[in-house]
Symmetry: C2
Subunit: 124 residues, 2 copies
DNA sequence: TTGACATATTCCCACATGGGAATATGATCA
DNA sequence: TGATCATATTCCCATGTGGGAATATGTCAA
């Protein structure tokens, strides 16, 4: 059995670094294919193929407008990946909690990017 | 250029479902190879090969003891993956933040034990 | 030492891959 | 209509792949 197809699931789709780059670039703001190619230094067919894979697992959404095709990251599709990582988060979340608590005690300081998760407290 | 090697980085290593299964199984508690094979229904050479990949990217740690080799997940190696997902988390974290804030406002209540599996319900 | 056990490695192979290049499809404009 | 722009698809190919089977390495027990 060879390696699973890139369109099998989100895990396989994001294994490719260029596709991760595309997802970050398309984060929140939709862009036409040409812009992606320019911004990431790829040629157009490569971008189209990568987008095809990402679309296959729901990681991007498409909007057609005339001869342009706008793509945009669908962050919802990344949730399973995020939640899978949370399985292990408790091992390192203690630090984050500490950082967060310090930041909250001193508002005005640079806050952490975000902190939505309470940690589980460990079974060592 | 073919697909990047599985040992290129954590993203490629965890693309394989069996390897994710192994990481979950080895979470926190070390196990010999035979136990992994039994638990996941794989044959021993397959497990050894998967472990070799995981070791190649630092996702498991090894301890030898006689003829046994104990493996254990190294969750620290998953942090880059976790943090990459955080890039997009803001789109779905609003729910979690709201839950957390409510819990913090009522400290006598039972705090949420853990927030790893928020409900799946629709995005508004 | 020999034999049993635990793990790692090697060999084989069908197969999906990503890049390059060329081409096809589709939409707009003159 | 034809020409041009934007994107998608096809063809080719070197390469890493995961599984199975067989074998090698290493360790303990008698």
């Amino acid at each position: 059995m060879p390696r699973a197809a890139t369109t099998t699931d989100v895990f396989n789709a994001i294994a490719e670094a260029r596709r991760r780059d595309i997802l970050v670039f398309l984060d929140a703001r939709e862009r036409p294919v040409g812009d992606i190619a320019d911004a990431l230094g790829l040629n157009q067919p490569s971008v189209s193929k990568h987008l095809s894979v990402l679309r296959g697992v729901g990681l991007v959404e498409v909007r057609r407008e005339g001869r342009h095709v706008f793509y945009r990251t669908n962050p919802e599709a990344l949730r399973p990946l995020h939640e899978w990582t949370l399985t292990f988060e408790r091992y390192w979340s203690r630090q984050l909690v500490r950082i967060k608590e310090r930041a909250e005690r001193r508002p005005g300081q640079s806050a952490p990017a975000h902190q939505s998760k309470p940690h589980k407290g460990g079974k060592p």
